[in-house]
């Protein structure tokens, strides 16, 4: 599903972000990517969603060489992956329903199909009754659930979650984790979750990849990373 081989990333300003990264993730896996600030987590995500191009090596997702995509093909590639952000990135002027349906309108899905699919994912994330609410009327956890619903509305094969619990208190974080787990199990969606919340990593044990200074410092199948230098 995801094949990263011998990837180096050096930014134009001279910053070396990643060195010789090799990572293989199978369909249906749930992987944590952890590491301190500046360890290259964000760069790794940007390489995966096509925002950045590797300096060396190749990034393949669902069989597509992401680094070699033409600029105009990147958006179409993105339909294969859903992304959830720490700050939710919901449109404040649109209701919950509209926020989710927007992601489907953008890819020209038919109106009636959109309506059905939006109801489906709202049910999945447990927000059936919040369709007409605006984001500011919801709690942080609920907003993040809307963001998750939007990310999976299009049935992506890969879901990338960039610090999805970063702005949430522990109870809400668990809520989101349970939701991601459910999506992973029920849809077989491959999930990559970047986090530095070690409590979560230790409580919900999954394969854990630890980045440090641009290198993969550890890749633990059984998860539960404890040792951390910071």
């Amino acid at each position: 599903m995801i094949e990263i081989s011998h990837v180096y990333k050096k930014y134009k300003n001279g910053v070396n972000a990643l060195y010789d990264i090799n990572l293989s993730v199978d369909q249906g896996e749930f992987v944590y990517i952890i590491g301190p600030t500046g360890s290259g987590k964000s760069t790794l995500i940007k390489l995966l969603d096509g925002e950045e191009i590797p300096t060396k090596g190749s990034v393949r997702v669902v069989g597509i060489d992401v680094g070699k995509l033409r600029h105009s093909k990147v958006p179409v590639y993105r339909r294969n992956i859903g992304v959830v952000f720490q700050d939710f990135k919901l449109l404040p002027s649109k209701t919950v329903f509209e926020n989710i349906s927007y992601a489907l309108e953008v890819i020209n899905m038919k109106k009636d199909l959109i309506r059905r699919r939006v109801r489906e994912v709202m049910n999945l994330v447990g927000l059936d009754d919040k369709g007409n609410s605006f984001p500011h009327e919801l709690s942080g956890g609920q907003q993040q659930r809307v963001a998750v619903a939007r990310a999976i509305a299009n049935r992506p094969k890969v879901l990338i979650a960039d610090e999805p619990t970063g702005n949430l208190d522990p109870a809400m974080s668990d809520e989101i984790m349970a939701l991601l787990d459910k999506i992973n199990r029920e849809y077989g969606t491959t999930i990559l979750m970047v986090t530095h919340d070690l409590t979560i990593v230790n409580r919900h044990r999954k394969r854990t990849v630890c980045l440090e200074h641009g290198h993969i410092a550890a890749d633990l199948e059984e998860g539960g990373y404890v040792q951390h230098d910071q």
Partner: protein, 302 residues
Amino acid sequence: MISSIWRPIKEGFRGVFRHGAMSISAAIAVTLTLIIISLFLIFTLNVNKFTQGIEQSVQISATVAYGRESAEEEDRISLAIQNIEGVDTVKYSSKADEFQYYLDSFSDEKTREAFRPFEGENNPMHDAFYVTVKDGKMLESVAKQIEEIDGVESVNFGGSSAVALIQMLRSIRVGGGILALALSVLAVFLIQNTIKLTIMARADEIAIMRNVGARNGFIRSPFLVEGVIIGAIGAIIPILFTIYGYKYVYKLTGGYLISAMFRLIEPEPFVRQISLALLLIGMVVGLIGSFFSVTRYLRWKR
């Protein structure tokens, strides 16, 4: 499918009104540009018409030398003139015709009477050929070639001052064209900046659209519509200016400038054609401006 056509239009209008002040300032830039272009077009097209009129009316007169007025000689000269490239028609006029024409130019009988002694044997006029050319630009070269024909005494083409005037009007036209072009570039630039602000205001939305896989064209289309709308709004005043201004000038001058030679183009359908051209130019300028702006923004990020 229908919604995919209406969406950019709806969003485009929304964008224009959301940034009303910016839209207006960009539209004003378009307005100024289009007024200049309107003046330029009216001027150029009228000058074109003058030029054509003058060039068609100007003919070359070639007089035959006194000793060479035999029928054979004149046939030879006539043929030689006809063989020059660019010559349209050649008309012969005998010295008697010439004298009569000269006499007719006086309206009072007294003067005519005074010239009577020169009629017949004493006629001082020359036999002459009147030559018209196919293209006014060839006037000078044709005249020169006629002059070189053996037996031709002198060559004249009236309106050499008119030709000089046309030359001057042409250079003014080039200057006006450069000005209009420069202003168009300025208008494109201003629209580009306006659209940039609209884009910045919607940066979050665009980022989300990109994240969920919206094609560049999908993101771009509402902004293009917005640019076109601004361009069209900017064209309103220039169009009114053209229609009423030109009609007013036409009425004021009675349809011609200085002399009947400089006849103005009839206002209908002229003003309507110019208005349509202005509207199209405004919309294209808006389209180009916003296209540059959005494309640059989209290219900036993958």
